[in-house]
Symmetry: C2
Subunit: 199 residues, 2 copies
Amino acid sequence: MSFSPLIRQLVDALRILPGVGQKTAQRMALQMLERDRSGGMRLAQALTAAMEGVGHCSRCRTLSEDELCPQCADPRRDDSLLCVVEGPLDVFAVEQTGYRGRYFVLKGHLSPLDGLGPEAIGIPELLARVSVSHFAELILATNPTVEGEATAHYIAQMLAGKGIILSRIAHGVPLGGELELVDGGTLAHAFAGRRPIAD
Amino acid sequence: MSFSPLIRQLVDALRILPGVGQKTAQRMALQMLERDRSGGMRLAQALTAAMEGVGHCSRCRTLSEDELCPQCADPRRDDSLLCVVEGPLDVFAVEQTGYRGRYFVLKGHLSPLDGLGPEAIGIPELLARVSVSHFAELILATNPTVEGEATAHYIAQMLAGKGIILSRIAHGVPLGGELELVDGGTLAHAFAGRRPIAD
């Protein structure tokens, strides 16, 4: 290793970023040092501010530095719809669909093998919120994985018979794909969920 | 955009890193916030320390926070050899070959179209260093690109007739590759530079 100690520390610290290995970290460190020191300082300040300042929204549990996140604080959103997702990035993804109801953000999915039961991912808080609010529909938008399905199924069981419509986002073929590349399970869901073509 | 301001700032700041777009920056920011805040703080500190503390080695011009970088400060290295490279990452690459002479780090390569002449990349400093030192050989290890070749050629012209051996790293087929995948120019160099097989 032939870098000086400060550069070596920076390279090591950059490796905590997902998908960044030794070579990429070196390139990042030297590019900032040679061409963009003000950008590097801005990044350091943004990191400090975010790591110290960002907590969780008291209502939906997503990441936010305010008591309420932008989605919970917005009075124009539809209070009769609640969308349950596995993490903050999913909120961002669902926002792109045009959905304008409320959110509840779990801490991941049920995973008994990793010791993650209902308490660990925040299901009691979800049930508490549902019991004091008046949602007409709860959209379960956990990931289309085995764990995500199990989590959605568990939540649906806990809320059955409470007069709330429980829905699950549709499984099917993604837009822009080719049928021959779609896996059998997905295609089976797409067939089972087929709908008549509207005139 | 549905992130709170501090998270948005962090995502924007992460995009100065080479190869990091919007989606990757979001993933990086949320992963640090959810799983590794101490790592994020360490990164912020390492960034601040490096951006403020790292300057250039007074002798070889590579990045270093000390007056002399580790390569220039090491008394056991061979003072008769000088390797000229285009940037600090190249020092790291050359170190892996086992080379244990001295270095001079240019600021890139000659590029008249971008207004980068000999002064801009540090050639006067190189000539000054060569004139006060006693190098037996100068190894021109600029990149094997048109600009790198031109830079090596220019330096060789400036130092011709001073009694120093001027050498250029060999061009040829890289180890582990396949001939059919090597471009014609490289293969032509490999043929022109062929050597008898030692017994």
